[in-house]
């Protein structure tokens, strides 16, 4: 960068290379306590909660491995503690839930084929970091030996590529379909979600003679067997694959933190407010100058890109990807996560994703084992996970459509919007009975709610930018 000038004497020159990078990290670390104290002064409760959660999240994988799983290995009565692989998948599903929340929660566009973008991300990584295309050899920044068959790109390159591929397809699908509203859009996305895995499944023996392209029995996608093996993520010579235990959990956690930061910033951006505006009333939003096509396309593309990154993580982590991983039921699983947690609220959907992944991959199989231990004739609940999830969907829609941890703004909308008026809004799913019941409880809150509009959000942001006025 530039050398220090007289006007900014406190700026230290940034040295190039690793030393400089470490130096800037140290600078940030030294500045951090000051920034933290400032944050603590402003939002005491929130900052403390976030800090505690962050510390818990960081130490949980170690505790889980060293104590909980160790207990399970030695005990005659194991408890449902998730395996490291399940915790990694919690991270992957959290990323997907956050992405779907952008489309369905913020912008109110119900996407029933979200799994397609997950598949696109997974196959992007599978094509570009595996010996699958064995007739070529392209090894780039990867610790695979040079000359090894296939294309091998490093994980840090695959993540933006998966992001870009999924976003591109999101925009490609969105461009012609986004003028459809509500349930028709849901069905179109469902169709797309079904086509993509079929394409990946079927392109295993392609014969094509078209212009300059000559394919004879070309196995493009691995067909039913999928692609296997895929290079595990590697940084500094350390593998973060499925055999790495908690290392992969931390890699997933880093991606998740990135996803949270991006989604939080999007939510509070001009675009985020535009999304919520079209969710609440498309026509009114258009009248206020919101460009519907651009706004919806961005929601679709950005939402899809999160699934692309999750897909890259899935296939790199597991080392295998087949079209069977990308069923309609996975799309619905992600949908249940965000509905259960609280559609529109990032923290809610994370809780939903953690809970559902835990239920699906740890608790129900655990119950199954317990049942089998009692009697082999008892049904295995893990085989009927979607019976439980289906009931959950019906019951949630009936009794608590806003989820268990709804966003403040969403709760406000639910109490204010006359039910049924919000056309095509997946988010505004209040029912009138619920609204009137809770209205009495929240008369006081309503005053707050009134100002909790776009302008208030903007004012909030402005207030944050100002130096803190209150003194403890």
């Amino acid at each position: 960068m530039t050398a220090p000038t007289a006007s900014t004497p406190q700026t230290k020159p940034i040295k190039p290379g690793v030393i400089g990078w470490l130096g800037s990290l140290a600078d940030a670390a030294m500045a951090a306590p000051g920034a933290y104290r400032q944050a603590l002064r402003r939002h005491r409760r929130r900052t403390i909660i976030l800090t505690v959660l962050l510390i818990l999240a960081v130490i949980y994988p170690v505790i889980n491995r060293e104590f909980f799983q160790a207990y399970n290995r030695s005990s005659s009565f194991p408890l449902p503690f998730p395996e490291d692989a399940v915790v990694t998948f919690m991270m992957i599903f959290c990323i997907m839930a956050i992405g779907l929340n952008i489309v369905a929660g913020f912008a109110g566009l119900l996407d029933l084929g979200y799994v397609a973008f997950y598949a696109l991300g997974a196959y992007t990584a599978a094509f570009l970091a595996s010996p699958h295309f064995g007739s070529v050899s392209l090894v780039l920044f990867s610790n695979v030996p040079p000359g090894f068959p296939g294309i091998h790109l490093p994980f840090w390159m695959l993540v933006p590529l998966g992001f870009a591929v999924a976003a591109t397809f999101g925009v490609l699908l969105g461009a012609p379909t986004l003028r459809l509203r509500g349930d028709y859009l849901a069905i179109v996305t469902l169709g797309f979600g079904e086509i993509v895995p079929v394409v990946f499944k079927n392109l295993s023996a392609v014969n094509l003679d078209f212009g300059p392209i000559h394919l004879v029995n070309a196995n493009l996608t691995g067909g039913n067997l999928g692609i296997n093996p895929i290079d595990p993520p590697r940084f500094f010579g350390i593998s973060f694959g499925s055999s790495s235990g908690i290392a992969a959990v931390y890699l997933g956690m880093i991606l998740l933190v990135g996803a949270i930061v991006i989604a939080r910033n999007l939510e509070r951006s001009r675009m985020g407010r535009a999304w919520m505006a079209i969710r609440e009333d498309e026509i009114a939003a258009e009248m206020m100058g919101v460009n519907l096509v651009r706004t919806k396309l961005l929601a679709f593309g950005l939402g899809a890109s999160f699934a692309g990154v999750a897909g890259v993580m899935q296939s790199s982590y597991q080392g295998v990807t087949t079209s069977d991983f990308f069923m309609f039921s996975t799309s619905i699983l992600i949908l249940i996560m965000i509905i259960l947690g609280g559609i529109g609220n990032i923290w809610g959907v994370i809780v939903g994703a953690l809970t559902l992944t835990f239920l699906d991959k740890t608790f129900l199989p655990y119950l199954g084992q317990r049942f089998q231990a009692i009697s082999p004739d008892l049904p295995n609940p893990s085989q009927f996970n979607f019976l439980i999830f289906g009931i959950l969907l019906v019951v949630m829609m009936r009794f608590r459509p806003e989820g268990f941890i709804p966003s403040r703004q969403r709760a406000a909308e639910l109490r204010h919007a006359p039910a049924g008026q919000a056309i095509g809004s997946a988010a505004v799913m209040g029912d009138a009975a619920l609204a009137s019941e809770e209205l009495a409880d929240t008369l006081a809150a309503e005053q707050v709610v009134e100002v909790e509009t776009e302008a208030a959000v903007a004012a909030d942001e402005a207030a944050e930018a100002e130096p803190p006025k209150d003194t403890p």
């Binding site: 012609p176 509500g182 079929v198 309609f328 289906g390 049924g420 095509g424 997946a426 505004v428």
Partner: protein, 308 residues
């Protein structure tokens, strides 16, 4: 040429089964603008009910005398239709009616949940493997009566037509000629006004689900006797095919649903025959997306453009 004629016959037979299920989608969408996601599952359960009735209750086999078989098959059809109609009305009562005034994506999500519930109930009861019956109807070529031997119309295909066509005529009569049918059309146009005119809207909607469920049950019997097999996740693919038919014909439009089902049956048959069976589903979905994008009103459409 023979091959093409044969493919057309298969396509039309497929199309008739699609039509029975597609009518359920289109009736419900026409009246409450809900994509009844669980409808395919009602059809699937209908096929299982028919399977149980045929194999364990009546024990119909290829050796059963023809007259007795006709009576028994009619009873099977009646019981199955009754059962699926009841099921469909109960689903409406439990999962959709409480959400009548909610934004319209809420019942859609509820329907998806219901669909998973029904699939897993079938999985729980009947297990994950395909279930089937032995061929019951005689193995004959009906066209051989006319001296044609190079194209085949099987007894099953005649059976499909014999079940489907009277049901379609009966439905058409019911909707256009009866008082209740008039109430249905009025509710579809404007539920509030229909209510003010003395139509019991909830009852009319329940009757719509009843009819849709009964038709799905008949389709289930036909499925078992025509394709001789069923499985717990049959409803999803089949339901989407039928829904595509309904959209193709113009959703909410009864003749459109039948026409769309025929077209889609033909698309299925030709794709299976001349392309590859493993691409058929992708083609069906591509057709669905293309219609929704370019002509959301379908072939015979209604004025649904601003609803879509």
């Amino acid at each position: 040429m023979d091959q093409i004629a044969q493919t057309i016959i298969i396509g039309i037979a497929n199309g008739m089964i699609f039509a029975l299920v597609a009518l359920g989608y289109t009736l419900v969408y026409g009246i409450i603008e809900l994509i009844n996601f669980a409808h395919g599952e009602v059809f699937m359960l209908g096929s299982f009910i028919a399977l149980v009735l045929i194999t364990t209750v009546f024990k119909i086999t290829a050796g059963t005398p023809l007259a007795l078989m006709v009576v028994q098959v009619l009873i099977v059809i009646a019981i199955t239709m009754l059962a699926t109609a009841t099921l469909n009305v109960s689903i409406e009562r439990v999962a959709y009616r409480p959400l009548r005034n909610a934004p319209k994506l809420a019942p859609l999500i509820s329907a998806i949940g219901m669909s998973f519930v029904l699939q897993n109930v079938a999985l729980l009861i009947f297990g994950p493997a395909n279930d089937g019956v032995d061929r019951i109807l005689p193995n004959i070529n009906v066209l051989s009566v006319f001296g044609i031997t190079n194209v085949t119309i099987s007894a099953e295909q005649v059976f499909v037509a014999l079940v489907t066509i009277p049901l379609l005529l009966a439905l058409s009569w019911f909707v256009t000629k009866t008082r209740q049918g008039k109430a249905m059309r009025a509710t579809a146009q404007d539920p509030d006004t229909a209510g003010l005119m003395g139509v019991d809207v909830n009852r009319t909607i329940a009757i719509t689900f009843l009819i849709g469920g009964a038709l799905a049950g008949a389709a289930g019997v036909v499925q078992i006797l025509y394709n001789n097999t069923t499985v717990w996740n049959l409803g999803f693919r089949f339901g989407l095919n039928s829904f595509t038919s309904a959209v193709l014909g113009g959703i909410g439009n009864l003749q459109g649903a039948v026409l769309g089902a025929m077209v889609l049956g033909l698309i299925n048959a030709f794709s299976d025959r001349y392309l590859a069976a493993n691409w058929t589903n992708a083609i069906v979905f591509a057709v669905l997306i293309a219609i929704l994008v370019f002509k959301p009103t379908g072939l015979l459409g209604q004025q649904l453009a601003d609803r879509a």
